[in-house]
Symmetry: none
Subunit: 231 residues, 2 copies
DNA sequence: GAACAATGTTAAAATATGTTAAGGTTCTAT
DNA sequence: ATAGAACCTTAACATATTTTAACATTGTTC
């Protein structure tokens, strides 16, 4: 994972270096600029994952800077730090294309949490896959993303429902996958018919999985199913 | 543009209906649920653009509900309303996959602004209006603006519909492109015939994309399509 | 072990999607 | 304006996926 780069523009040197230090300690590569003009220069030369801008600054205020940044990059997340709590300011800030704003005083933890929330949202779109997508089931290799189950070089294509159910079973391997939990997760419903439908899929999965005798898909009466793997 | 759908879960009936009214007035289609359980039921039956959850509720609290919602939909934005201002709670909230949280008391305008910020962030990434115009699809290079798809120096000209659909798929690469969302975005209509038309285009795109075996355009039954890129 | 509930299993019914080609419609060059 | 090309929709038929039905088996309770 690449290090996240933060542009921090804050004219108060105490707060600025404090935040920079904190963010660095949390693993973010942070550049601190002390006014809007410098902030713009830095931004135009480098690429950042997120910008944190103080609103009230001499020379060039945060809103103006945000607009200039937007002109260069329409997508980079921008967070405002503002002492003002007035509605109008907030409106102006968001209009300028902000993704969030934090009113001073704030805790550094809160800032961090908001940064994380924003990054998660943006990164999720671009990173190939953050969730687990490949599973080893005995001698089988299950690729959830591609919906395939392979053993001895033979590949079985799975349907969406088959893959969903098998994934849940894998995530709960050697533990009970609760019947109702699975139904709600996949069928979004736990009525009688959905239940019977799931039972049908369990039967199908058992068929697929019988090439490896160390793998078993058993029922736990009244509770759910358990995928027993290996050993 | 389709109306934005908001799921609001708030146990205080006064605050709840006040917010609902306000959001409706602002043009958001809002469903109000009065507790976590009801919120879950509503969510599992319908599709929402954003969820606003009160944290402290009887029966099922907002954090628990958020986890359940995440199990169904890993992407829908979640905002917490919380009277608590403790760090720990905030941490737990964000861990549960929240995109923002607002501490009571808050102004309705602030809520609206935060909702807007989040929606802009999410929609821009996936909507046909995204500014992004060039995409790498395995060994293919797709130029949306010029409507071309190129591999090994061979250039295929795309029609408008082909390019639109491929762009939406790229913006949601490795994730599900919801069938109805795509239909509404490109065909401005989700009736039967538009759907069949889209299926025809999917088939055409599959033909174009079969030069690179690491690229797959698969169907997710009842949901939509997924463009799988790489590995 | 009788009665009921839960699960196993297979197949038919109902939906959804895949694909090709035939019809329309719109655009473009003359 | 009009023929031809390009594009989009609709039709028609094929296949895939999911749900429902039907009946068999297993487990639980008393």
């Amino acid at each position: 994972m690449e290090k996240v780069k933060v542009l921090l523009v804050e004219d108060d040197p105490n707060l600025g270096s404090l935040l920079k230090e904190y963010l660095e300690a949390k693993g973010y590569s942070t550049i601190l600029a002390v006014n809007g003009k410098q902030g713009y220069d830095v931004f135009s030369k480098d690429k950042f994952n997120i910008c944190i801008l103080d609103v009230m600054m001499p020379i060039k205020d945060g809103f103006t800077l945000a607009k200039e940044i937007r002109a260069i990059d329409n997508n980079v997340p921008i967070v405002f730090l503002t002492a003002k709590s007035m509605k109008e300011d907030a409106v102006e800030g968001f209009t300028a294309g902000a993704d969030d704003y934090i009113t001073k005083p704030f805790s550094m933890e809160e800032l961090l949490l908001r940064i994380k929330a924003i990054l998660r949202r943006t990164e999720n779109k671009t990173s190939i896959h953050s969730e687990q997508t490949e599973f080893q089931i005995g001698n089988y290799k299950f690729d959830y993303k591609h919906q395939t189950l392979e053993i001895k070089g033979v590949q079985q294509k799975l349907t969406t429902k088959e893959a969903d159910l098998l994934k849940l079973l894998c995530l709960n391997a050697n533990e009970i996958l609760d019947r109702n939990f699975a139904l709600k997760s996949i069928w979004h419903d736990d009525n009688y018919f959905s239940g019977r439908s799931m039972d049908v899929y369990i039967a199908k999965l058992r068929k697929y999985l019988k090439e490896d005798s160390s793998v078993e898909l058993i029922n736990v009466h009244g509770k759910g199913f358990k995928l027993l793997i290996g050993k």
